[in-house]
Amino acid sequence: MKALRLLLLFATPCLFGQESIAVTGIVRHALTRDPLPNILVTLNRTDAPYPESAATTVPGGRFEFRVPPGAYRLMAESPIFGGQYYGAPSFQSGPAVSLVLEPGARPSPLDFRLTPPAAIEGAVTDAFGEPVHAAHLQLFQTYILDGRQRVIPRGSAITNDLGEYRLPGLGPGEYYLVATGTPWHTGDEFTLRGGSHFVPRFYPNARTAESAAPLFLRIGEEVRADFRLDESTSPAVAIQLVDPPTGIALRLSIHARGVGGRNRLQHSGTVFSSLHRVDGIPPGEYEVVVQGVARGKQYRGSARLSLSSDDITLAMPVSEMPTIAGRFACSGPSSGQTTLTLYDPDQSARVPAMLRPDGTFTTPPITPGRYSFLLAASSNCYLHRLTLAGQPLPENRLTVGVDPITGLLVETKAGAGSLHGILRHGDLPQPGVKVYLAPVPPNEIGPYRVYLTDSDGSFDFRRLPPGRYALFLAPGAPELFEYANPEVIAPYLKTAPTIDLEANQRIRHDIAQPGPQ
């Protein structure tokens, strides 16, 4: 139904001439409410990658567009504020509230609140109070990803010659910060044994990840975080590559445990020979990885390094990276173009699988991990199960090691359905409200979805496998609401309506927002 409505929206100019609708508004500072001039505002169709129109706000913060009917996203950006979608709570968090412009519509002027970014800055000094140049600051943020709370890397900074750093462009939220570094006199030809290192420090100058404290940032806040790094002697570390490809340089990275299960980078460099010396590594537990390309092939080696105060030589086999080969099958009449993407949320890795006309596919070389499969948005197929050597894979996830995998069967079924409707409070459509969808009963696989209602209060969940679903609102839910956590959403599901969705079905289910009118 909504597809038909959108089709009509876009077809209207062709049928009735180029009708244009005025979209006007004022961009304001979200905290001071002051109008903001000289802000670039762009309007792009929800189904097109490029902006339809662009304008710069005039004194008074006003902007105006005249565009054909359709569904649009509005974005405001400036060098100071960065970019932010209309309806998003801050510039770093989506999604946007889509503007649905029906033929003949006269939308009210928009109030676009642009949130100023926050920043963390500080200085890193050594035990002598001297600035530490080239110290590495790694920032992590607690974030909702795929409906579950995760800690994700949110950027890094390197100190300048004065030991100063700055991490700008941050949204409000909970952050963790870690400072590492190598003394300037370690890592060159004069370094004796393993040289020395700076003991990593977690904000606020804690020695371990467990004792790290979060840094809470509010909108537009500038927070200072200084670090003092103590120097200590490092053991000598040598990496002995086993069977490396000849004649190429390999990228080396050494990661240690960071915050929230995320690794932090301790050291990176380039390996030119099979025996490579690394200076300035503190005792601890590490994952060491080398990777590089030679003659069109990708090579990788990895090993665990458990480093005490003793010198060590780490043997690391290097081999060609594996690929995944298999077959894709969609039972039933499929429509739309199908593309497959392997996705490992733990390392935020996405690997496309090239589908051939006969349904077979091979991925590019892939790093070890635990991958799920994503299907293209235009396909009506949904993932049914993954089978390897006749055995279904638990939770439809594929574990990749160092060996290539062949014979993977990706079984999908045609007939994905959709669930849409309008959220109203009384008779009034409610734009910009999060509507959640969960499988009934809740499970570990999903799908779990969230939709920020459009300007007309509508929501639209597409490409859903047949099954029983619950639609719910979560008023008063925390900022980091885990809408894919069965335990967290259980209270909301008690009163949520359930809908049985069959193959190829498109069900409309409006929601009435509770509360006094």
Partner: protein, 507 residues
Amino acid sequence: MLLVFLRHALPLCLISLSALSQATFPLTGTVTNATTGEPIPRARVVVTPLTSTGEAREIAFTDLAGAFRFPTLPAGKYSLFAQKPRFKANGLSPGPPIDLSGPLESLPVPLVPYGVIAGQVADAGGQPLRYVRVDAYRQVVVLGYHQLTRAGTAATDDRGNFRIWDLPAGRYFVRAMSRAGGTFSLADESAPSTVGRQAFAPVYAGGFERLAEAIPTDLAAGQQARADFRLPNLPAYRVRGTVTGLAPALPVRFELRRFDTEPTEPRTFFNPATGVFTMFDLLPGAYQLHIRQGERSAMLTAEAPVKVGPGDVAPILLEALPPTTLTLRSEGPGTFPCTSLLIEADKPLPRATSLNSDIPERVPPGEYHVLASCSDAVVERIRYGRTEILESSRLTIPTGAPPAELTVTRSTRSGILLIARQGETARSPVLLLPGQAATGAPRLLNDEEISARGLKLLPGKYTLHALRDRLAPFRDPAFLGQFSYGSSVQIENDQTTQVVIEKHSQP
């Protein structure tokens, strides 16, 4: 008597020699800021015996008073190296070595501090611009030519501030350029999403587009200079085109060169399957477009002049071609083959391609300086195909040029020049200027060429100049014009001529 000496004195001599070789002495000193004279604490001082490998080196750190101490160094010769962040690593090497045959106390080790160029970049309305690239170019001399080398690069932060540090003293030209000259989003490091119909013009300090008009920043040792920029936001256009002949899977670089600056890499969408490309956010002007794929000898290149604006540029067609194969031929009397060196001209960091006789080399298109030498004869002529070129003059290899020969002709005639440097010029570099272009190009002679064996030259008239600075721009006419003195010499065939240089030509 001799027997008595051998019996008594010789063992004593041997003992004292042995004792001397095993004797240890203290070496102490102070590391200071060469500009302010202040002591430098926590500097690293490395002494290395000149007669052994690096394993025997000793390392010390200075105390709060900048003092260092090696209490027991074996007698011998050493080099000393001192280092501290924000100072140019320096010491007494490669200067005269330290001869430690007794205690050496209070050795002064001055370190020259680096300078800093910092400032802010804003748009014409004064709004700070983030992620704008700022380059500090330093004027250096390469092969006697003034050239710019990029000494440092920084990106502005969210407040538009930048800071480039560890800069040696010298003359700098500072340029601010947003990424691909772009708009708000293009100045960001993320993928651009904007309509991109405006772009920021790159400017040198002072607001000038061209290097020739730019105001230099003369940076003294340890100085912090400021350079602020206002980038004008101008209408921008697109260039569409198709390039054929590229390999399908390798990355492609699109570069635009304008004026006398480094080429920029505009934001470009490129479809490797069709060869169709679109370059965005280009300011009006005349450019040279370079499309490159691969490196050096395997590089495919396509070039075309492009005039941008007003309005987008209609589709242009280019063909990527492989590099030219160049073969060096040696001709004329002589036994040993000649060699040649092609050095990229007008590049901040020029690369050199060496050519050996009869071995084909693939040379990318471009402008080169050509040098040639023959070990047993004097070079008389150099030809590129049928074109005569003078030594060290420019050679242009066009894109897609067919295979060609570079022919070096040995001369049958030559004389020997013996150069003696006396007085103030005893250790000075010597510049040789031919009286006629046909007898060669200006040459800065090295010590080997000034040695007792003499220098073999084509017969003709030459002028010799003792210089004060080995890094002199000796191919710059303005530099040569300031000479007030020179030693003229006439070289005759099969004759040896001696000249004595006693005065510097440079004022």
